[in-house]
Symmetry: C2
Subunit: 216 residues, 2 copies
Amino acid sequence: MNKNAFRQLSYGVYVVSTWDNGRATGCTANSAMQITSEPATIAISINHDNYTNKCIQDTGKFAISILGEHSDPGIIGIFGFKSGKDHNKFDETESVIRGYLPVVADACAYVVCDVIDRMETTTHTVFLGQVVDADVLKQDDPMTYAYYHKVIKGKSPKNAPTYIAEEQPCAETAAGAKYVCGICGYIYDGDTPFEELPDDFVCPVCKQPKSVFVKQ
Amino acid sequence: MNKNAFRQLSYGVYVVSTWDNGRATGCTANSAMQITSEPATIAISINHDNYTNKCIQDTGKFAISILGEHSDPGIIGIFGFKSGKDHNKFDETESVIRGYLPVVADACAYVVCDVIDRMETTTHTVFLGQVVDADVLKQDDPMTYAYYHKVIKGKSPKNAPTYIAEEQPCAETAAGAKYVCGICGYIYDGDTPFEELPDDFVCPVCKQPKSVFVKQ
């Protein structure tokens, strides 16, 4: 079996959010698909280890913020590489309330759902949500997972189904040695040599400091 | 609720196939997502009205042929706009057998699954399949649903969840009046005026004859 075949499946980049006892929380996800048209339902897949999973089970509601190519890629890091259990992710991201749920303001569109069914697997829950609200927030091409990999040069968190252990960044930087973020895998490719970046430089994807970058 | 928000979800373009009493059959689909990593499972969504749905229920197996940007777009029409009940779709498409299932030879990758669970909705079945075989067939960028719409200029069959009734083609042809395939919605945009095309011209997406095109 060649697992590289799985990488040819196409995905978007989303933030799935809900409430945790009145506190907004969420996580980055790439797995969402519309199932029925009228009434509209959408299925999402969330790892059991994501704190958002428990919160969706508790509230019976979730929102999908659909990121666009011009959405701040830092959002992916905030929601993808930290746990919402002990981190207020929405403190770092402008949000709006839509359909009574927190939505990322910088997304290009959102969908709010009531959970009506679910399917359990060994590591993930597939939630089926009936859409109760949806709208376009700004004109933008939706960010695909391929765009995130190729243009933003990010990689998968370890609890994403699309994570492949041997995944290796391969782009070359034009400015000398290659530096890779040890947290999210972002490959620095700016014009300024990495060594000359200011000390307060942070990874544009996961917002971790310069010190976590690894020379390769 | 603004259903245009749903269009910002990202999808690929796939042929889901299986056996019908020894006869290969299948349908075009855009809804597939990996759920777990080890063992790998993938969820697909198939309309109850698709004959392939019944055949997957009978065999407990399905293959996903992942189309690439250079796959013949005619495959989408063959598998998307005709019923496998009374049409041998694989007679018109070169196939290979992988993991004991028929796979489209012109796809860029394939995944073969055993059904291990399912979730029913009003119109669609979400099948959860455990991967038993997968491989890359050729180097190509996977075709996204957005690419199919923007570049190939096709639209959704009526039983796809992404079908929107008011969907209207909007591209202009450089060669005079606009002609749209009445079956699949493909908009002719060749350099030769449509009226001057040979009588044996067929829609490149659904392979229907020139006579089904409508002047708009």
